[in-house]
């Protein structure tokens, strides 16, 4: 067996905010009819979270369930459990029209923590990141500079950023630049 590694193998950077690659994260993308009770039950069982509404993310410990589009969810689970979780979903949804795919190694995950988290992201994405507009529990799919990315900000004020693995280094460099000491804007705190 090959030894799985994440895109940047836990690289980190200390600026006015701390940027770290989160290492191996299990991710399952699920497409299907999100209004279907069976689909809801299968994903909720897989992550142990509640079902997110439109543009919401539900987090429970290491697991999370994110609403990605009207017919797509992203389930975050521990890396080692992905195969079992997909098998459970496949069993629960047999005969339904759906798709559950392991995308753990096709994505990269970053955590941004410390002070000025909102500012780091606001520099890169065309999104209103004021605390009133972008609240914990919301997920936003948008772009970071020139590539697509999704992020949410947790109750503890740290942000989770997900992007495609092929652009992991680009996104890490962007976040490093945006968090560079001395580049604080001081607008969003």
């Amino acid at each position: 067996m090959s030894n799985p590694v994440s895109a940047l193998q836990g690289a980190s950077f200390d600026g006015f905010a701390k940027v770290e690659e989160a290492g191996l994260c299990g991710m399952i993308t699920l497409r299907g009819d999100l209004a279907s009770a069976k689909v809801k039950k299968a994903v909720v069982n897989a992550t142990g979270t509640e079902m997110p509404g439109q543009r919401e993310v539900k987090v429970a410990g290491e697991n999370a369930l994110a609403w990605m589009s009207p017919d797509e969810l992203l389930a975050l689970v521990p890396y080692g459990e992905v195969t079992d979780k997909i098998a459970a979903i496949d069993k629960a949804l047999a005969g339904q029209h759906y798709l559950a795919v392991n995308v753990s190694d096709a994505r990269a995950v970053f955590r941004v923590s410390g002070t000025g988290v909102r500012e780091v992201i606001a520099k890169l994405s065309p999104v209103d990141l004021s605390a009133d507009a972008f609240t914990p529990g919301m997920i936003r799919r948008t772009r970071m500079a020139q590539v697509p990315a999704a992020f949410w900000i947790g109750e503890d004020g740290s942000a989770t950023v997900i992007c495609f693995r092929s652009v992991a280094e680009y996104v890490f460099n962007l976040l490093k630049g945006a968090a560079a000491p001395g580049s604080e804007v001081g607008l969003l705190g």
Binding site: Q54, R55, M68, S69, P70, E72, P126, V127, R140, R141, T142, R143, P148
Partner: protein, 109 residues
């Protein structure tokens, strides 16, 4: 800069989050059509000064296609609506009529 609201995921974002997909409500003429029809389908596009209908894709967001009605002169966006339709919904037409009385665009008015 256009500010569009995606009717599929409800996000209001600026232009760079979306991708323009050309003119809306085009009827496709493929195999079996006459050369004139095929020529018309490929090349005769509206180049409106004023009210215009376009297809857009939320390519950095939910990835869905939708329609937008906007003014090419002022860049005002009258509204966005589902891609699963052959013509603009009455609600959008009413909004345009309120702001641009007497507008017409191809067979719609």
């Amino acid at each position: 800069m256009l500010i569009l609201t995606c009717p599929c995921c409800g996000v209001t974002g600026e232009e760079t989050e979306f991708h323009a997909g050309g003119e809306a409500h085009i009827k496709r003429f493929g195999p079996g059509s006459s050369e004139d029809e095929f020529h018309g389908y490929l090349f005769t596009k509206e180049n409106a000064k004023g009210v215009h209908f376009e297809r857009w894709r939320h390519n950095n967001g939910c990835g869905k296609w939708f329609h937008a009605a906007r003014c090419t002169v002022t860049l005002e966006v009258f509204g966005t609506y589902s891609a699963q339709t052959y013509e603009p919904p009455q609600e959008i037409k009413d909004k345009i009529s309120a702001k641009r009385p007497g507008w017409s665009w191809r067979e719609f008015a």
